[in-house]
Symmetry: C2
Subunit: 200 residues, 2 copies
DNA sequence: TGTACATCAGTGAACGCGCGTTCACTGATGTAC
DNA sequence: TGTACATCAGTGAACGCGCGTTCACTGATGTAC
């Protein structure tokens, strides 16, 4: 830090990513704007061009970074478990944690047409999450999804359940779940996610 | 029909809804525009104001109509089944049918911030779909979700699974499912949706 | 059947706005010597 | 340590665009008598 009112920002790239997430959370993907992000960062609206090619580039970088934190949220939950089934379910709860904590970012990552999936960083970050899912299936089922039909079914089933729970909770839809108190809700989520896995 | 080049359109309202869906499918919610819809309908861009208050009004009407067709898709599948479990699963398959056939509309209905949920038509149409879900749970479980904790769990679990499958299929994500051929995929979906229900 | 008139459903010009992008610029920083 | 210079990371004015909305208008339709 050199001074408060310095010309060079220091780490504008990181600041822009931070503000982009705030913009996204407030306005939604539908109304997201580059100028809005620049304004939040207290910088002229032409400044972002020095760090990101264009709006799609900024959103893509944000999504890539999001996938990293998404993975971390799952691993954080998993760290407390040892058995394959417990770890699998924990990763699902981490998945939901992230979605509920960052709904707009989550939707950007999974349902936006504004991402550039040819970007290596985004592709790699998304791939890492997918790889964790595959590893969890294999640990539980003893066979890799790429080789075993049943394992593939487990993968889709677990993913769909957890993804669906996330989406519904984000949209505030299943009031049924919301009316449960905190602890009971955690238990309910465990039970539901468990249903998506093969019986013990 | 009076003539080809008539001044009064005849049924512009219906035409606008039709073209709005096309616009939505092509551009996505993020880039949807009223002017684009008017252009598709071959009408001046000020014309829609006579039928819908504004863009939100048009989207809301479209979503309400969408929920009607969404319900119909589920009922169409259910009609071929008699047992509660079979009917429940069938409704899920109808849910997925609709999502896959109308992905942009589906996302408008479930994940857009541009809808006016205070609109009675939209609210009622959405409520009807929710009611069908509740009825299916009750038929299977013998208890209403509003009164029984387990039934509530079934509702959330079935909804999340089917909704998650829809979302993932729309986003082209689980290539695992896609690599199955048509018939096997139908079977796989049945199996997966069944997992979300209480064991037989 | 004919006429007068009210209502309805369009038109097209005009508005102001926020957007992304471009561009010449300039102040700050880092490096070579 | 001091100076010259290249590079970097910003600024702010300008552009053209498509958007939603408003408004005075007019042609078509429906109704009363």
């Amino acid at each position: 830090m050199v001074g408060d009112a310095r010309y060079h920002h220091g780490d504008l790239r990181a600041a822009l990513l931070r503000e982009a997430e705030a913009e996204l959370a407030e306005k939604g993907v539908e109304a997201f704007s580059l100028r809005g992000v620049a304004k939040r960062a207290g910088v002229s609206h032409a400044a972002p061009a020095h760090h990101f090619r264009d709006t799609a580039g900024l959103l893509t970088a944000l999504a890539a970074e999001g996938f990293g934190r998404f993975l971390a949220a799952q691993e954080a939950r998993m760290a407390r478990e040892t058995a394959p089934r417990g770890r699998f379910i924990a990763s699902g709860l981490g998945y939901i944690d992230f979605a509920v904590a960052h709904p707009a970012l989550f939707r950007l990552m999974f349902a936006s047409a504004r991402l550039d999936w040819t970007d290596p960083a985004l592709c790699a970050a998304g791939g890492r999450v997918f790889a964790l899912l595959g590893a969890n299936v294999e640990a539980l089922r003893g066979a890799a999804p790429s080789e075993d039909e049943m394992a593939r079914l487990d993968l889709v089933s677990a993913w769909a359940m957890v993804h669906g729970l996330s989406e519904l909770m984000i949209s505030g839809r299943p009031t049924a779940l919301m009316t449960l108190n905190g602890l009971a809700r955690e238990e309910a989520l465990r039970e539901i996610v468990g249903r998506a896995l093969p019986p013990q």
